[in-house]
């Protein structure tokens, strides 16, 4: 820097302080623009103190003179500016909130059939449903609803444990579900093998026919929930055992019949305990409605 050159000390102004007899400090003032920006920021701060909540005063604080207009009990009222009132205003009047509310109201007043018949409502429910699904359901059921065995069944196939009507799906999201198949550890050895073979044969999987026939008698205890025909019971969340839709074990992916049977035997011995939380406190009724439409459509919409 030119000013720090020691060739012409006399030409540069110093601060006037002298240390150790000859040690001086150059006076290099701040640039003008910086100085003015500094003064401007002080002026800004004073304006800010007056406009917004700022200074603590004993047990309260200066609320500022700035106000917001929000709707309260059907009337427009002036309220002091603060981040919470600003939030209320944002929820009421921000352009995206207003646009969204138009559709939310429409969906809220429509029946499921009306939503299905209206492409604009469907598009909205799909888009909101996708967001809601990502935030609330995907952690367990997967981003695409593909499920995660053994605990979290697939929502993307057309196999419904608890029923596939809109009202059922909506009710299940609202109240949550407890899936519970008791384990049968007393069924062991040949009886277990025979029963497992029988269950596999229900889906048309080629197994030891004699063993499967022997296992049929043991199925009586299963029929209490799965039905005599093994077609399942959506009231209990008991799946149809004849349709190759396996909600907790990957029977289709198992390479050999022995491996398939081992999976079935495991379920018979240990049972299944699954739980889906209730979302009634977390989501609004209209959010649950859109999510229902979305989940229903994930499986092909049947």
């Amino acid at each position: 820097m030119a000013l720090s050159s020691d060739k012409k000390p006399a030409q540069v102004e110093t601060t006037g302080h002298v240390w150790d007899g000859d040690l001086r400090e150059y006076n290099n003032p701040l640039p003008r623009w910086w100085l003015w920006a500094f003064y401007a920021s002080i002026v800004f701060a004073v304006v800010y103190w007056i406009m917004y909540p700022a200074w603590p005063v004993f047990k309260t604080f200066t609320p500022g003179v700035s106000t917001l207009t929000i709707e309260q009990d059907g009337k427009m009222v002036e309220v002091p500016w603060n981040s919470r009132n600003l939030f209320i205003q944002e929820m009421q009047t921000s352009p995206s909130a207003v646009r969204q509310r138009e559709f939310v109201d429409k969906v809220s007043n429509a029946s499921f059939d009306q939503i299905l018949a209206d492409p604009s409502m469907m598009a909205f429910a799909r888009s909101m449903g996708s967001g809601l699904f990502g935030g609330n359901c995907a952690a367990c059921h997967g981003q695409g609803g593909q499920g995660n065995l053994p605990s979290y069944p697939s929502l993307a196939d057309n196999d419904w444990l608890w029923g596939s009507s809109f009202t059922t799906i909506s009710h299940d999201i609202e109240k949550g579900l407890k899936g519970n198949m008791p384990g049968f550890p007393t069924i062991q050895g040949a009886a277990l093998t025979d029963l497992a073979n029988h269950v596999l044969s229900l889906s048309g999987i080629a197994v030891d026919a004699a063993s499967a026939t022997r296992g049929k008698a043991g199925f009586a205890v299963c029929a209490a929930c799965h039905g005599a025909e093994a077609k399942g019971n959506p009231m209990l969340g008991a799946p149809n055992l004849t349709d190759m839709g396996w909600s907790n074990i990957d029977v289709v992916g198992a390479p050999t019949v022995d491996a398939k049977r081992a999976m079935i035997e495991g379920v018979i011995s240990k049972g299944i305990q699954r739980q889906m939380p209730a979302f009634t406190n977390r989501l609004t009724p209209v959010e649950i409605k859109m999510l229902t439409v979305y989940v229903h459509e994930l499986s092909g919409g049947k």
Partner: protein
């Protein structure tokens, strides 16, 4: 005093510098101890039960706060994703609070009862098994390690010194019965702490094994109560704004 005498006396310079910069901090912080409106009056907020408290300690020691905030801000987008914005009252028994300052993972102020206990256990052991795109590190030792809780009474006593209403005497216990109801007051009674913690850990299938008391039990118990204490349906939006 001449300016020069400050500049040539290092000790004096340090003292005066500290005095000047502490003014900024004092002006910002001290009034908050006196302003009555800071903490909202809401029903439902209570101190942590012994098991939750141990879970919270693990949350801190595992450094969860480095990636997860517990502070939903009053913005529309955060409201849509996470739920109601956080209240000061909801962390009034937190010492220190876990608001965090960085979201590498999502905010978890409203995580409680959103997922099943089983999900939390599986997720903490191996996050990618449930959320393939997750970058969260695994915490399998929570399931392996026995929970150390022999010092639970001292932990509660320490918090009591900071103003958390855990009870030691019959009077304090009665006050808790009035404020939080008897079942909760029993859990907040320090002399009962060990028995309470054991009963809590074995009373619900937190980690899939009711008999062993693991760190996972405590962690899941803590995560499952986050943000669940206040029933927001009981309050108008304008009510919380009146405290600002």
């Amino acid at each position: 005093m001449k300016h020069e005498s400050v500049e040539i006396n290092a000790g004096l310079l340090i003292v005066l510098t500290l005095a000047v910069i502490s003014i900024g901090g004092l002006v910002e912080i001290v009034p908050l101890f006196h302003i009555k409106d800071t903490v909202e009056e809401v029903k439902g907020v209570r101190p942590y039960t012994p098991l939750e408290l141990r879970g919270r300690d693990l949350y801190v020691s595992e450094g969860c706060y480095a990636c997860h905030s517990q502070m939903v801000r009053p913005f529309r987008d955060e409201n849509l994703r996470y739920g109601h914005y956080s209240l000061a009252a909801e962390s009034k028994y937190d010492h220190p609070f876990q608001w965090g300052s960085k979201r590498t993972g999502p905010d978890i102020a409203r995580l409680g009862e959103k997922y099943s206990d089983q999900w939390h256990t599986q997720h903490l052991v191996k996050p990618q098994a449930l959320v393939p795109e997750s970058i969260m590190p695994p915490y399998p030792w929570l399931l392996k390690n026995e929970l150390m809780y022999s010092d639970i009474e001292n932990r509660m006593k320490a918090l009591k010194m900071t103003g958390v209403p855990y009870s030691l005497t019959a009077e304090e216990y009665q006050a808790n019965v009035t404020n939080f109801g008897q079942p909760m007051a029993d859990k907040l009674h320090i002399p009962n702490a060990k028995a309470t913690l054991e009963a809590e850990a074995k009373g619900r299938n937190w980690d899939g094994d009711k008999e062993r008391i693991t760190q996972m039990d405590a962690m899941v118990a803590y995560l499952q109560m986050l943000g669940t204490l206040v029933d927001f349906k009981k309050y108008e939006q304008g009510y919380f704004a009146s405290f600002r």
